[in-house]
């Protein structure tokens, strides 16, 4: 089941990837990530929202979890991007192994860094059930990686969960995204996003394929081959200035 949310509101986009391990505790992994993104959306409309600090957006959103009567447990990665139209600058905050790439003229000009404690264990915001606090990885929103950079008209921004980056080789992504640089038709963008998601899905279930995940695993002395079945979320945007 899908346990990520994508939000596109004004010039803000984000993805959150719920950590699946919570299923064995009877916790729906999608609830946490879903709440995180929905709350980001609500906070964006607040008067106190600072569009240059996506980290504080994540931090406040995380704090809201503690204010819910119905407890929301679990953990999730998160990646939030804010495009400031006035100065053509993108402000980003990333925790974990979701991420984004910015493509210009067929090349990646900016990308997020994956944050991992160790292999296959990304940084994550979490709220464990009471009593399990010690056993659970819980990173603070302050540990988010923040980047800001200017963008040009026509740039393509792809925000996605690790289900995409682990399965689709970079060259394939670039070839796909090259086609829509400067594209303003929403339908075409949607189709490309679908394509990427579908690619990721097919490759994930290809057991012979040397996926980026497999390559990385081998670097960590793990004998892996094939794709990595995982939840896939894609948010695609082009910059129009």
């Amino acid at each position: 089941m899908c346990n990520k949310m994508m939000k596109w509101s004004d010039a803000i986009s984000g993805v959150a990837d719920g950590v699946g391990g919570w299923r064995s505790y009877g916790i729906d992994p999608g609830e946490f990530s879903s709440f995180l993104m929905k709350t980001c959306e609500r906070l964006v409309n607040c008067a106190s929202f600072n569009p240059q600090k996506p980290v504080s957006l994540l931090a406040y959103s995380y704090c809201e979890l503690l204010e819910q009567k119905k407890p929301i447990l679990g953990s999730s990665t998160a990646c939030v991007l804010i495009l400031n139209r006035e100065n053509s600058t993108v402000y980003t905050a990333n925790i974990g192994d979701s991420g984004f790439i910015v493509v210009r003229k067929g090349e990646i000009v900016h990308r997020s860094e994956e944050q991992q404690h160790y292999f296959n264990t990304p940084f994550q915001l979490s709220l464990p059930p009471p009593g399990h606090g010690d056993n659970v990885l819980s990173d603070s929103p302050d540990s988010a990686d923040t980047l800001s950079f200017t963008v040009k008209d026509g740039d393509v921004i792809l925000v996605a969960t690790d289900g995409v980056f682990d399965n689709v080789p970079t060259k394939l992504l670039l070839d796909t995204l090259k086609e829509i640089e400067g594209e303003q038709d929403a339908v075409k963008l949607q189709m490309t996003a679908n394509t990427i998601a579908l690619m990721a899905r097919s490759l994930a279930f290809d057991s012979e394929f040397m996926s980026p995940f497999a390559i990385n695993a081998r670097k960590n002395n793990i004998n892996a081959i094939g794709g990595k079945p995982d939840d896939i979320t894609v948010v695609l945007a082009t910059v129009v200035l």
Partner: protein, 630 residues
């Protein structure tokens, strides 16, 4: 319902639509060119209570602004505005406070309010409030008309005990006022609420108008002269005073008034029978009796009585009648003139409630300070909740003059911590009640106040700022304030088992509210047991959202709390059917039990328990598709 017109209906988000010019005709309804606009609330100006913390957007006043997010869903949603209290439960708790000067409350008592601002001035036609949980608490609607600087009540009604538990758009018929407004105040009475009421948004519908034109019209009306003044002008009437006019007047009143009245026919010529007893009027009664009679009146009536005649003026302005004053029900009318009048009369003042007064600069700090200097030396009870006019100088004068305070309520001063300078508190030594709900206070100052006031019985630090550690507070209380009766730490910070252990030494405790505290701990464990054992008088124990509490902890309630009347276990996930049953069986005096969001209990059980044990068991609303919570 909101009236629909044939022209544009816009929200405050997109008010750039073209609108035809509107002709303002004073009292005649405008013909075809009337344009009604609908607006969502843009900003919250003031409110008396909210469920969530100030930095949160869950269950807070902020949610009344903008488009409704959940309506027409029904339920307990964090995207709505909820207040801290409901029903009568806080009125029967050990920390309950009586209203001062209860004679002032012959009208509908108001528990809470919220003031919202809209973007555009309109002449109000309708107001619609989207209620998404337990509707029916709104009892008054006011609007502020800035052109005349006055609040007017557009609608009021006694609270309805039989409102159906369904989502509704509440839109009562409003009084017609042909003046522009963009500020609306809703007032609430919780008395019949079964659980929290929640509001998702509101819409103000009105005729758009040109504020400038209204201002000019109002100014013109003020300067217009009436027929008498015009006549006097035309005959060039000049007032002339003859000498000794005072003596001549006195002489007339004493000697000739009776004859004059007879001649004019104001007095009957009929002779009465001689065997009827001579008539005694109000004026003939001794002052003590008159004081007793007038003490049953509300403040407004006392003021009016003073205008009747000289004798009643002397009685009605005597400081004896002004020892206990409650200005809260007159929040809309309290102004500098009234305070100045009170300054002359209330020199024996002992108890004052000036809460909610002074919005939009109707009270000047200097007038208030003069009032305090003249009248408040002997003040023992002071309630100044949500007073917008209070500044550092006001607090300073309160601190230096009112040194005998036994009760001080300073709720809702969250915006300006150091600016307000609560250092006046350091002079107080006799405090028995201190209410700082939603007020920012310096930690050292608070701890010092605890040290200096050993008689403290009631302390409210709900939604206290995060710089104050409740563990520190608890340790201080255990050392300096052993006679404490009630503590409210709702949504405060840094309470742990250390704090609970300290409080176990306060054996007179009857009420504790630890809602949303103890976040850092898995389970309070032994500290809770020791606290409950050490405080057998506990009547009210609130443990909302302390997720770490399990059956083992609750076992202690059954063992050590025979006097328990109110228990809040909202969101305590670990509680089971068996433990609930045990609590209900052992705590024979229990009146209220909140089991909302306790997922292991289901509706059928609670319905049965309500009848068997006669306890009001609260549960969150569950939509009919999911009848059983697993």
């Amino acid at each position: 319902m909101i009236s629909e017109t044939d022209t544009s209906v816009t929200s405050s988000e997109d008010l750039t639509t073209e609108e035809a010019a509107l002709e303002i005709q004073d009292s005649h309804p405008a013909p075809e060119e009337v344009i009604l606009i609908n607006q969502y609330a843009q900003k919250v100006i003031d409110f008396s209570s909210q469920y969530g913390s100030d930095t949160s957007i869950s269950y807070t006043a902020y949610n009344i602004t903008g488009r409704p997010s959940k309506f027409p869903d029904y339920g307990d949603f964090p995207e709505t505005f909820a207040m801290r209290t409901y029903g009568r439960w806080w009125d029967i708790a050990p920390s309950a406070m009586e209203e001062l000067q209860p004679t002032n409350f012959h009208d509908i008592p108001i528990h809470d309010f919220i003031v919202v601002e809209f973007e555009e001035f309109v002449i109000p036609e309708a107001i619609a409030v989207y209620e998404t949980y337990n509707p029916g608490a709104i009892v008054k609607i006011w609007a502020y008309f800035s052109t005349i600087s006055t609040w007017k009540c557009l609608w009021y009604s006694f609270p309805d005990p039989y409102v159906e538990k369904r989502p509704r758009i509440f839109s009562p018929p409003l009084k017609k006022v042909a003046l522009p407004t963009k500020i609306i105040r809703l007032e609430f009475n919780h008395i019949f609420l079964d659980y929290f009421t929640e509001i998702d948004g509101m819409v103000l519908t009105g005729r758009k108008c040109d504020v400038g034109e209204i201002c000019d019209a109002a100014a013109m009306r003020k300067s217009k002269k009436g027929p008498i003044l015009r006549k006097l002008e035309s005959v060039q009437f000049k007032l002339r005073q003859i000498e000794n006019h005072k003596d001549i007047l006195k002489d007339f009143l004493a000697n000739d008034l009776g004859n004059f009245m007879k001649e004019v026919g104001l007095v009957h010529e009929d002779e009465k029978e001689d065997n009827t007893p001579p008539q005694i009027t109000l004026k003939d009664l001794p002052c003590e009796i008159l004081f007793k009679i007038l003490s049953y009146l509300d403040l407004v009536s006392i003021f009016r009585t003073a205008q009747v005649c000289k004798k009643l003026y002397d009685v009605a302005t005597d400081p004896f009648l002004y020892q206990e004053i409650n200005l809260k029900p007159y929040w809309h009318a309290v102004c500098d003139e009234m305070l100045t009048t009170l300054t002359k009369r209330a020199t024996l003042l002992k108890k004052l409630d000036i809460s909610w007064c002074g919005l939009f600069h109707s009270i000047t700090p200097s007038v208030f300070r003069e009032f305090v200097r003249c009248c408040c030396k002997n003040l023992t009870h002071l309630r100044m909740n949500s007073c917008k006019f209070i500044n550092a100088f006001c607090m300073e004068v309160v601190g230096s003059v009112c040194v005998n305070l036994r009760e001080l309520c300073l709720r809702n001063y969250s915006k300006s911590p150091s600016v307000l300078n609560f250092h006046c508190l350091k002079n107080l030594r006799f405090l028995e009640r201190l209410d700082l709900f939603r007020t920012q206070i310096d930690s050292d100052l608070l701890l010092m106040t605890l040290r200096y006031n050993p008689g403290l019985k009631h302390l409210n630090l709900g939604i206290c700022n995060s710089t104050v550690s409740m563990d520190d507070v608890a340790v201080h209380i255990a050392r300096y304030n052993r006679s404490i009766v009630s503590i409210d730490m709702w949504k405060s910070h840094f309470l742990s088992s250390v704090g609970l252990l300290s409080l176990s030494q306060c054996h007179d405790l009857e009420e504790v509210d630890f809602g949303w505290c103890l976040r850092e701990e898995a389970s309070p464990g032994d500290s809770l047991r020791i606290l409950l054992k050490g405080c057998p008088k506990l009547k009210k124990v609130f443990l909302a959202a302390i997720r770490g509490i399990n059956d083992r902890d609750l076992e202690n309630i059954t063992e050590f709390c025979p006097n328990l009347e109110q228990l809040d276990l909202m969101g305590v996930l670990g509680i089971t059917y068996d433990m609930c049953y045990k609590i209900l069986s052992n705590c024979r005096k229990l009146k209220m039990l909140d089991l909302s969001f306790c997922d292991q209990i289901d509706e059928i059980q609670t319905a049965l328990w309500r009848d068997v044990f006669r306890v009001s068991i609260k549960r969150n609303f569950v939509p009919p598709d999911h009848p059983f919570i697993t």
